[in-house]
Amino acid sequence: MNLYEQQASNRRRTWLVMFAFVTFLFILGLGFDAFYLNVGGGFPVGSLLALGVGSVSAVTSYFTGDRAVLLATGAKPIADVVAAASDADKLKLKQLDNVVDEMSIAAGLPRPPVYIVPDPDPNAFATGRGPGHSSIAVTRGLLDALDRDELQGVVAHEMSHIRNLDVRLMTIVAALVGGVALLSDWARRGMWWGGGGRRRDNDRGSGGGALGLVFFVVWIVAILLAPLMAQALAMMVSRRREYLADASGAELTRNPMGLAHALEKIDAAVAPTQAINRGSAHMCIADPLGRQANLREDGGWSGLFASHPPMAARIAALKEMSFQR
């Protein structure tokens, strides 16, 4: 896949995710109308509201998703961090600043703003909607653990995510997957609380009993599966992309070993990145949840729902690029 194909595919998938989100909300609204209000006589308030809210939040996520993600991780602009830093620390921050400059020159892109996430676990991510509207964030732990070449490799990896528009897709997925999980929770809770009584009402009112039942089952299944599907989508989106970004990052630095060493160090630090929650895990250079955390939370689903390819395979691919095994 060349750069233009990657960009085109990311644009297409971004639309698809936004469309799927609005559709999901619309189905929720339809169900709400069918089971909680009387659909024949009443005005379809739920459906229209869901459609409106869905479209507005999809568009809002497109334009402000990056800010939401940065806010959720507690990332601070590098200038603020520099102001409060010691002299030795200033040097390290300057190094990061310079490395970002270097990589934007190498990629021929406008320089993205840089953020520091106050978390001791090494990790990094990029967010935004494309060149000129993206940011790169690295954790405190990454800055402390990596040397200059390794830092350059990581920044190059993130810069490639920006250049091939991965950031756009990943940011919209981060913003909307969180929303789907939340809505699904609400709908489920609503069902337990008031579902039974109202449903009998509805059966009495409208004629299509069997049809209504089928729709009800579909509705419940949709609500129950939505978060799972959203999660799987997010993971599917990110796994292959990591290899591509590794490769094009190495093309920018012309030094695959820098990134390979960085990944080794990141892999060695097993502590989960606390500042980065599940909704934005797929955006990071390495799975922020760590293996143990993944197993515990998903109870066996971790293989299928892994957001990142195995680190050993990524490192091996990079080493092969520099003819080192």
């Binding site: 040097l91 190094q95 310079n98």
Partner: protein, 186 residues
């Protein structure tokens, strides 16, 4: 009918020529911009060098030759005329700087001086930026050249005065060799 077809073909050709011409102009401007980016970084390096030399002068007093050779190389690079000459002079400046950095490693006071470390970081980053700017320039210059040379654009690219852009190469034979730095004190 035949006349209509003829004019249709002519119109298509004209549209194609305009589109190709505009694409070449766009690429040429990108190449020029890429070239200026290199200049910006070279200028930045020239500005940083006197600061570094002043910062290390006190501690490295008896490395006067090295310091002088850096300042001389900088002066020659500033006075260079034309891209080929500039490339060679800048290459010599890079070598002189590399030697200075290597020698500075021998001075513990310098290694622990935050000001010097910051200047070193700035200079090595500028070196990197020069390298990456050249890498990017070569990439877009290659695109521009390919766009001119493929058939059928090559038929009229020359007529409109498009010339292939020069790629950045190591001009100095000495630069091609692995640099040897003498770390023994003089």
């Amino acid at each position: 009918m035949a006349i209509l077809v003829f004019f249709g073909i002519v119109a298509l050709l004209v549209i194609w020529a305009i589109a190709s011409y505009n694409r070449l102009v766009g690429l040429r401007n990108q190449v020029l911009n890429g070239w200026r980016q290199i200049d910006v970084q070279l200028k930045r390096r020239h500005d940083l060098i006197p600061n570094l030399v002043n910062a290390v002068r006190g501690s490295m007093d008896f490395e006067k030759d090295t310091l002088t050779s850096v300042m001389d190389a900088r002066a020659r690079a500033l006075a260079a005329t034309g891209p080929a000459d500039a490339a060679q002079k800048e290459g010599q400046l890079t070598q002189a700087l590399g030697k200075l950095f290597a020698l500075a490693e021998n001075y513990p006071t310098l290694k622990s001086n935050d000001n010097v470390k910051m200047l070193q970081e700035e200079l090595s980053s500028t070196e990197n930026k020069i390298g990456f700017a050249r890498q990017f320039y070569n990439d877009i210059a290659t695109n521009f050249n390919t766009a001119q040379q493929v058939f059928p654009t090559n038929i009229f690219a020359g007529m409109f005065g498009f010339k292939p852009a020069e790629l950045f190469e190591i001009t100095d034979a000495g630069d091609r060799a692995v640099p040897t730095v003498d770390l023994a004190r003089h």
